[in-house]
């Protein structure tokens, strides 16, 4: 059974883990990556125990983010073609 339902806005982005996190009662963090969210994954797991939470979010928000980040990647590439090669 899911330990809790947590809205994505209540999760924190962890740069080091490259994942959204939320406190787990064991002391570790539930984690879910942007890739997971883009794929529609709803379960954030704790690496230290058997508990997991259900993440409440809108998948489209993350698909849009993906498009944006693709564009961003492309822009500097145009200016600096050498670095791409």
């Amino acid at each position: 059974m899911s330990y809790d339902n947590v809205e994505i806005e209540d999760m924190e982005w962890n740069e080091e883990l490259q994942a959204f996190t939320y406190p787990c009662p064991c002391g570790d963090f539930f984690q879910i990556t942007k890739d997971d969210l883009q794929l529609g994954e709803e379960i954030a797991r704790c690496p230290s125990c058997s508990l997991y939470i259900t993440v409440v979010y809108n998948q489209e928000d993350f698909l849009r983010d993906k498009d944006k980040s693709k564009k961003k990647d492309l822009e500097p590439a145009k200016q600096l073609p050498i670095s791409v090669a």
């Binding site: 009662p25 064991c26 002391g27 058997s50």
Partner: protein
């Protein structure tokens, strides 16, 4: 010199055990491992600063307050919650050097932040500030305790740190909240508040004399001088969130509240334990096995339940982790996956189980105190000599601070006495008797 000598001798009368989740160093064992059985700790560095008067256990860190008002911290430090001027974990207790010049009288550990109160009523916070839970007017994290200037002209008595919020009680009993308020845990407004980074007065307690505050997860609680319990924040057992303090059952007389993430424990003046919520691990998931003994007249709030399996045993101390609980005399129950119940396995328990600390712990020489972090537990044993020394009124006056902080059991006796003067004898002897069994 004589003072120092005595301090060195004291630890012989005090023993500390820890168990449960340990992968951040929060058990003080020097290892990064979970422990399924109570581990007797060897903490020479900590002992050199006197005996421990109280512990505060957070998400994955612990704070020890010593008999001379010094503070040691260990465990996870990645957001600065240890106050060691760095964002690093510590496997062993280390002094919080920036507080060396203060005599600290009260400490609290949240999920990833810490609070310290000095004897002259100054408040310091450190750790994760991303929800405003440090009360410093910003959302920055701090790796060394910073004085909360908002209370520069007030005398702070207590701080209670939750997952992402803090409560403060002033001398004069006013209660403030700051940090995340999404579940109503600040009690500062009828409307939903995302977060505030400066303290604001908690509504509805202005005319109540509050004597203690508690916070954990997204829950908040306060106990008044007449033993009434107020709760606010996330609702227990699926009940609606409360945006400001709600009085729980006016006939109830509580002496202590201990909150988890989905449950709360109450210790009554009759040394009985009642539980709020607890439909997760904390569990006692098996609600059918519990006898709901008391209902609030207002049915929108969670009911209070008796804890089964105690068979009338008097309880003197309570503590709650996120999803487990402990009470003195030494029984634990709830979620056990990390061994936080200290029973030698990872099973969950729905009925309080007796934890075996050491062969001589059951004899009549000791009084115990117990503290829960999110997934871990600490127990401290004080010798009988310490208790006698402390409860003897003549000695107490004579030795003042040194003695009254020696054993936290005694500190709570004193509080109880001031709360329930008419119960003085009963409470006093009740506690001692139960402690010695």
């Amino acid at each position: 010199m004589e003072e120092a000598k005595r301090d060195e001798e004291e630890p012989k009368q005090q023993q500390i055990w820890s168990w449960g989740a340990g992968t951040e160093g929060q058990l003080g064992t020097g290892k990064l491992e979970d422990e399924y059985l109570p581990q007797l700790l060897h903490l020479p560095f900590l002992y050199s600063a006197g005996s421990i008067s109280t512990l505060a256990c957070g998400g994955a860190h612990a704070i020890a307050l010593t008999s001379v008002g010094k503070v040691f911290t260990w465990g996870r430090g990645t957001t600065g919650q240890l106050g060691h001027r760095e964002m690093l974990n510590s496997l062993h207790p280390k002094p919080v050097s920036s507080l060396q010049s203060y005599v600290i009288t009260h400490v609290s550990a949240g999920w990833s932040h810490s609070g310290f109160v000095s004897e002259i009523g100054l408040l310091f916070t450190c750790g994760d500030g991303s929800f405003g839970q440090l009360g410093l007017g910003d959302y920055r994290s701090q790796s060394t305790p910073v004085k909360v200037d908002y209370f520069a002209n007030n005398f702070v008595n207590q701080i209670a740190c939750g997952m992402r919020h803090s409560l403060v009680m002033l001398k004069g009993n006013q209660v403030y909240g700051f940090g995340s308020g999404k579940r109503g845990q600040l009690g500062i407004s009828r409307d939903k508040i995302k977060s505030v980074n400066l303290p604001q007065v908690t509504c509805g307690l202005e005319d109540v004399q509050i004597v203690s505050i508690s916070a954990n997860g997204d829950h908040s609680a306060a106990i008044s001088a007449d033993g009434h319990l107020y709760t606010w924040g996330r609702g227990f057992a699926g009940a609606a969130d409360a945006n400001f303090p709600q009085l729980s059952l006016s006939s109830l007389r509580c002496t202590k509240a201990a909150l988890g993430w989905n449950h709360g424990l109450l210790l009554t003046g009759d040394e009985e334990v009642l539980m709020l919520g607890g439909n997760y691990h904390g569990g006692l998931c098996d609600l059918e096995k519990m006898s709901a003994v008391k209902h609030r007249s207002d049915s929108s709030r969670a009911t209070l339940n008796e804890v089964i399996g105690l068979d009338g045993v008097k309880v003197v101390k309570i503590a709650a982790g996120a999803e487990h609980s402990a009470l003195v005399t030494g029984r634990t129950w709830g979620w056990g996956e990390h061994g936080q119940l200290g029973l030698g396995n990872t099973n969950d328990q729905t009925i309080p189980q007796t934890v075996s600390l050491s062969p001589d712990i059951q004899n009549k020489e000791a009084s115990l105190n117990v503290y829960c972090g999110s997934g871990f537990t600490f127990a401290i044993r004080c010798s009988r000599e310490q208790i006698y020394e402390s409860i003897n009124p003549e000695n107490r006056t004579m030795k003042s601070r040194n003695v009254s902080y020696k054993c936290s059991a005694v500190v709570s006796h004193v509080k109880l006495l001031s709360l329930f003067p008419h119960l003085q004898r009963n409470v006093w002897f009740g506690i001692l008797k139960a402690s010695y069994q």
